[in-house]
């Protein structure tokens, strides 16, 4: 019962947070110079005041700001995210067409990063001071410090251009007509490079975080007691050290999992992955207000949701924590 009421309270709070985000974003994006009518008129290669006014009227941009905000909020409350000015399509349609691609990419990257990050971090902590630890630490540092776009381009050059092992762009082989298992395997081949590229940075973060956290826990009295009791070192590491050391990693992972949904812009751009990160980037450049706000709203909702999930995961990892 306590857990259910906690979830309900957090969800209600989440709705208010999202509303605040919508209003803030609505106002912030309008501070940026230029509007969609101007950008679209500019793209037409020739435009006059009459044409811009036509577009502004069509998009409702000639109405006072507070009225535009009111109309938008009314739409959002009825789950209508509006119409994309530039793509001439419902925002919700555009987002939900693209969301699966982003979830696949970020989900894979996240799982890869978390699994290998924790494993490598735990290994480094267990072998602290030895060459394994040094190797993992250096590897993590390199992955952390290397710019994502550079990793992306180099991985395309190496695995796609020189070795020819993996495709360099897109989500599937266009025109190949694959179906069923063939299609799944084709998507997986396309997924490897972008997911690894996106995941490497986060893997480095989790590696370092796990290692540091485990080394801290290893100094705790109860670990010393466990050792004094003669428990096997492997069991101490797995059951006593790692489990307790994971809490900060889970906190970070929870925050980052949400952020990754909206933050895969660079990876999606370089690998031509048709997700919402790219949709957001294009919408920003084109001042496609409704589309941009829609993507912000969805990615904010994912962040709020992941924060809630993180809190719930705490209770499983550490029974001492109660959510109610």
């Amino acid at each position: 019962m306590g857990k259910l009421s906690f979830i309900a309270r957090r969800l209600v709070k989440g709705v208010f947070v999202l509303l605040a985000i919508v209003i803030l974003n609505f106002l912030l994006i309008r501070l940026a110079p230029g509007d969609p009518a101007q950008v679209m008129a500019g793209e037409a290669g020739a435009a006059d005041q009459e044409f811009i006014q036509q577009l502004q009227e069509k998009f409702g941009l000639n109405q006072p700001l507070h009225e535009q905000l009111f109309i938008y909020l009314k739409g959002v409350l009825t789950l209508d995210l509006g119409w994309s000015y530039r793509q001439d399509e419902a925002v919700a349609t555009l987002i939900f067409e693209r969301l699966p691609a982003t979830l696949l990419l970020t989900g894979t990257a996240f799982c890869f990063a978390l699994t290998f990050g924790v494993l490598l971090g735990a290994l480094a902590a267990a072998r602290v001071g030895r060459w394994t630890d040094s190797l993992i630490t250096v590897l993590a540092l390199v992955c952390y410090a290397t710019p994502l776009f550079w990793v992306a381009l180099m991985s395309i050059l190496l695995f796609s251009v020189y070795l020819g092992w993996l495709p360099g762009f897109g989500m599937f082989s266009v025109g190949a007509g694959y179906t069923g298992l063939e299609f799944v395997l084709d998507v997986l081949r396309h997924l490897i490079l972008p997911a690894l590229t996106l995941g490497l940075f986060y893997m480095a973060v989790y590696t370092r975080m796990t290692r540091a956290s485990m080394l801290e826990v290893m100094e705790m009295d109860y670990v010393k007691t466990a050792r004094a009791k003669g428990l096997a070192p492997g069991r101490i590491t797995r059951m006593h050290v790692l489990r307790n050391a994971l809490l900060p990693v889970i906190t970070l992972a929870g925050i980052q999992a949400g952020q990754m949904v909206g933050g895969a812009v660079l990876t999606e751009t370089v690998f031509a992955w048709p997700g919402i990160g790219r949709l957001m980037f294009d919408a920003l450049l084109q001042r496609d207000y409704n589309l941009l706000l829609g993507v912000f709203l969805v990615s904010s909702a994912v962040v709020v949701l992941f924060n809630l999930v993180t809190d719930l995961v705490y209770t499983f990892v550490d029974p001492r924590i109660e959510v109610s």
Binding site: G45, D48, D88, F169, G170, L285, R287
Partner: protein, 523 residues
């Protein structure tokens, strides 16, 4: 007399163009079949050419829709949906004879009614660039199902140059007439008469066109299908070509510094043809209204201070040509008989001293279109600072750049514009005082005013015949180059890079924008 002459001219143009089009391929019989993979960037907002006129829309939809004419690389008109045309003696009545047996992609006949609907009703509303030019037309009539007559208010020299697919695409009256086509135009079902039909659009990934089996040109198209791949990153587009995943990189798809590397690849050809109609000309807007740039001598000093040859060789990798004035050398009525502003920093310093320039800061907006433009702005900034001009470079994105120009909130700003083959279509709009109006980055943004230029621009548009127009435009160019309302930089060339076994890809003055009907694969 004029009637016969125009027919002969048309016939000559047609034969010449057919020779041009067929020339290199005569020895080789086109092969049927195959798939072309082409890059498109950015993703078009719509394929409804006519409703949307931006470049990526035109690049894809130019193969779905068609206009009455095409233009060869000398800008001579070539038959397309119109097989013949006649002009009366004083250049005020144009009669087009339409090709019979042309079908829309839904199987209906293409007739004169479609021409009248497209031009007199729809495009007048949706195409601001065409709207101005159609003001010269007094009436449009369908004389029968396959004959259309345009009666002009007065001669309008560039009238025959209007019928390019991006400017005047034909739209099916039987679908859209009497509807609110702004609402009914369906991105997923564009119906044209072109060599390719729309098949599928997976937004963010690709656009798929398939051959129109009922196309009105015997044997065409040769290709079975075209995939336009959306790849947003320039470096990734270059890699996609290197990888063999795409066959064609249309002009402007990759950064200039990648061009030489790709051009050296096996089975790779490169052409700068196919931009003659657009004739892109790059310049810096100079805000003539206030500050140091209101002084003609400062503007002239800027022209002398900029090393355009360096930009052409280094920033643009030897692509393009140094501009000599407001008209691109491939556009009609170009003259080089104008003041020469070859790189001369000493002369620039002299003029600045004479003008009493005191080091006041002058802002510079680069064009936010990628790395090449940023580097170019840096090179120009350095040139200007070398002669003592205090330049403050400001970064903007596309939205910001548009607004700054729309609101005249700039001192100097990079841009480039298309000329559409004729000064009356794509040049004078940037210099006449009646076109000084906030809200567009494509009109007389500099705020330049000269009564004589206004007169000449007006006369040049309606003068007849061409010899008279040439005379008028020569004087106009000489005045403009002397006054330097903007700082002309380069006549841009955007090389199209493609596999050499893609044959006949660029056959017209708009290149890949309408080129896939002729293209075939030698594989």
């Amino acid at each position: 007399m004029a009637f016969n002459r125009s027919l002969k001219a048309a016939a000559f143009a047609s034969v010449a163009t057919l020779a041009f089009v067929a020339g290199p391929a005569l020895a080789e019989e086109p092969k049927q079949g195959g798939t072309a993979n082409v890059v498109i960037q950015p993703e078009p907002p719509s394929l409804n050419l006519g409703m949307v006129q931006n470049a990526p829309t035109q690049m894809v939809a130019g193969n779905i829709f068609e206009s009455l004419l095409k233009y060869d690389t000398n800008l001579d008109p070539v038959p397309n949906l119109a097989t013949e045309w006649e002009v009366n003696e004083d250049g005020t009545v144009y009669t087009f004879h339409l090709k019979e047996g042309v079908k829309w992609h839904d199987g209906e006949d293409f007739t004169a009614e479609d021409v009248i609907f497209s031009m007199d009703e729809m495009l007048r509303e949706t195409n601001p660039r065409l709207r101005v030019n159609l003001d010269h037309v007094e009436k449009m009539e369908a004389l029968d199902d396959y004959t259309v007559r345009f009666t002009l208010k007065q001669p309008f020299g560039p009238f025959l140059g209007l019928f390019e697919v991006g400017t005047v695409p034909m739209w099916p009256a039987h679908i859209y007439q009497g509807t609110n086509y702004q609402e009914t135009a369906d991105d997923n079902d564009p119906i044209g008469t072109g060599p390719f039909k729309f098949e599928e659009w997976d937004r963010g990934s690709y656009i798929h066109l398939v051959a129109n089996e009922d196309y009105h040109v015997e044997g065409q198209p040769y290709l079975d299908e075209i995939y336009w791949h959306v790849i947003p990153d320039a470096a990734s587009r270059a890699v996609a070509y290197e990888n063999g995943e795409v066959d064609v990189l249309p002009g402007g798809s990759i950064e200039n510094f990648d061009v030489p590397r790709l051009a050296e690849m096996d089975n790779t050809c490169m052409t700068t043809k196919g931009w003659e109609y657009f004739a892109p000309l790059a310049w810096m807007w100079l805000n003539n209204r206030e500050g140091p740039l209101a002084d003609k001598r400062v503007r002239q000093a800027i022209m002398y201070a900029i090393d355009n040859e360096f930009a052409q060789e280094v920033v643009w990798n030897n692509q393009g040509r140094v501009a000599t004035g407001p008209v691109n050398s491939v556009t009609r009525f170009y003259t080089d008989d104008v003041t020469d502003y070859s790189y001369n920093p000493d002369k620039a310093e002299e003029l600045l001293d004479e003008a009493g320039y005191d080091g006041e800061e002058i802002s510079l907006l680069p064009l936010p279109y990628g790395e090449t433009w940023q580097r170019w702005a840096e090179a120009v900034q350095q040139n200007l600072e070398e002669v003592g001009i205090n330049v403050d470079m400001e970064a903007t994105d596309v939205g910001g750049w548009n607004q700054r120009l729309n609101e005249w909130d700039f001192d100097m700003a990079f841009t480039y514009l298309y000329q559409y083959g004729d000064p009356a279509l794509g040049v004078t709009r940037n210099y006449i005082s009646s076109n000084i109006e906030k809200g567009s980055p494509w009109n007389n943004v500099a705020g330049y005013e000269n009564e004589r230029v206004d007169e000449l621009a007006e006369q040049g548009a309606v003068a007849f015949p061409d010899e008279k127009r040439a005379e008028i435009y020569k004087e106009m160019q000489q005045i403009l180059v002397e006054d330097v309302p903007v700082a002309w930089l380069l006549e841009l060339e955007f090389p199209t890079i493609y596999r050499c076994d893609v044959k006949n890809l660029v056959t017209t003055a708009i290149g890949v924008n309408d080129g896939f009907g002729d293209a075939w694969l030698d594989r």
